[in-house]
């Protein structure tokens, strides 16, 4: 089996619009959650979110191309440019056939859906834009990445709600490891700030009115975020032969399904995915030094995830650092796994552990080391990143520096 490394990384997130800015911001521990500005919030209870700051599409795209791109595809394309540029690869000289494009997304072009349906339902419009369907489809972001870079191998989008990106990256990892492709461009993208979507999330009664405080006693729920993180995965031997800079190695991927409930999480299901990841990576529990938690900030998730970490790691659970960067960038649903794996890689390379921001007070039911509020200087060799989705779909990745 091939070893698989990451040779390119790109990110557009509430913490910044490139890897350098996001890394610097992660170290500060300051949250990027703030007032929602991209849509009017006067009829919403939820006024806060993690928005990509000052994202001006015309800085990145010509008008003609922009007509085809939902915000969700815009984020993915911008992040893919940074990732591919860093990898130094060109897909147009034959490599394209040996390369996959696998992107995770929870819902796809929601802004386009919302706007066009509002036109027909509320405004009684007789017609909507002819490119509405290719713009809103969940696979559109992935399609545009293949076209922009000329990647002609296997390509598809993965949808498993909040685990979409981890599933996408995990499948890409397994394909490169098995040798079915040499390179994979993978990650996740999401753009959730539409009026209808926020109303839907409010109805579930899991939205925090103040901010996202994962694992903290006074947490009041989750806060939505948006953005994309894209990475270039490559066969290690190939990357070494061409002298590429290796950002991290992906060593394991574990999956499981709770098969229980459409919204409630299960500690057994989460634990089973973490165990599967350790087995896939041939790691012992004691090897893992840091877990980037799913850590949504809801009552249910944070207690369940803590329990699951105890189940898998035993005595070692208390020695691990566990943090949720959702406290800084919000929950970007289908993109979250990619944003969080990216955060883990960047922090690992810079020699720190990103903190859980907004932490006020310990919860007796959450008794691990959550790296509260301040980044910690540490050399981490092996880390894990958890994603657990509605529907009980769990996906866990492990990386090594």
């Amino acid at each position: 089996m091939n070893r698989v490394v990451i040779t390119g990384l790109g990110i557009v997130s509430p913490l910044g619009k490139n890897v350098e800015d996001v890394t610097a911001r992660l170290r500060t521990g300051r949250t990027a959650i703030g007032p929602i500005t991209v849509i009017p919030t006067d009829r919403l209870m939820t006024k806060i979110g993690g928005e990509v700051p000052d994202f001006n599409p015309s800085d990145y795209f010509a008008d003609k191309q922009l007509a085809l791109l939902d915000r969700c595809a815009q984020f993915a394309l911008v992040a893919s440019r940074e990732a591919v540029a860093q990898s130094g690869l060109s897909f147009r000289d034959g490599l394209g056939h040996r390369s996959a494009t696998i992107i995770g997304s929870g819902v796809g072009g929601l802004g386009t859906l919302d706007d066009s349906f509002h036109r027909v339902y509320a405004e009684g419009a007789k017609r909507i834009h002819p490119l509405t369907i290719p713009k809103l489809m969940i696979s559109a972001a992935m399609s545009h990445i293949t076209m922009e870079h000329g990647i002609t191998g296997p390509s598809f989008t993965v949808a498993s709600a909040c685990a979409s990106a981890n599933h996408a990256i995990g499948v890409a990892f397994h394909m490169v490891r098995a040798g079915s492709v040499d390179v994979a461009v993978t990650g996740g993208t999401e753009a959730v700030f539409t009026f209808g979507t926020i109303m839907g999330w409010e109805a579930l009664r899991v939205m925090a009115p103040d901010t996202c405080r994962p694992f903290s006693r006074n947490r009041r729920g989750m806060v939505l975020g948006e953005g994309a993180a894209i990475m270039v995965l490559e066969n290690r031997a190939r990357a070494e032969a061409r002298g590429a800079e290796i950002l991290a190695e992906i060593v394991g991927f574990g999956m499981s399904s709770d098969a229980l409930d459409i919204v409630l999480p299960s500690a057994e299901g989460a634990a089973s995915a973490m165990r599967a990841c350790l087995t896939d990576a041939r790691l012992a529990a004691e090897d893992v030094e840091y877990i980037n938690a799913h850590g949504t900030g809801t009552m249910a998730n944070d207690v369940t995830e803590t329990k699951a970490i105890h189940m898998v790691f035993g005595d070692h659970a208390k020695k691990l650092a566990v943090s949720s960067t959702k406290s800084m960038h919000g929950h970007a649903l289908g993109a979250s796994g990619a944003l969080e794996l990216a955060a883990t890689i960047m922090a690992m390379r810079q020699g720190f552990i990103p903190p859980t921001a907004n932490f006020i007070e310990a919860d007796p039911d959450c008794d691990l080391d959550y790296v509260p509020n301040e980044a910690r200087e540490a050399r981490v060799e092996v880390a894990m990143s958890n994603s657990f989705a509605f529907g009980g779909h769990n996906a866990v990745l492990a990386i090594r520096r």
Partner: protein, 90 residues
């Protein structure tokens, strides 16, 4: 009385029990309602009475509303309907 009647109807429908078995002191926990069922129940109540019920599973106390029994629900809805009608009048 009509609020009470409507609440009994809504709870019976949501919990899939015979309406006649419900009393004011029936506890919601006895009705095998999971958290998602309670959220649907509150939604049905909000829709029926055109009110907003401050209910969050992670924030039970700040709302100042108790949701233990069917009677609690009736009291809360009576209070909220009166309050929110007064607010609309202003």
């Amino acid at each position: 009385m009509s609020i009470e009647n409507d609440i009994f109807d809504i709870v019976a429908t949501q919990a899939k029990v015979d309406r006649a078995t419900l009393k004011r002191d029936t506890r919601l926990s006895e009705l095998d309602l999971q958290s998602i069922d309670i959220i649907e129940l509150i939604f049905a109540i909000e829709d029926k009475f055109d009110i907003s019920v401050p209910y969050s599973p992670s924030d039970l106390n700040s709302a100042g509303v108790s949701f233990e029994t069917v009677g609690d629900l009736i009291d809360a809805v009576e209070r909220l309907t009166a309050e929110q009608k007064a607010q609309k009048a202003v």
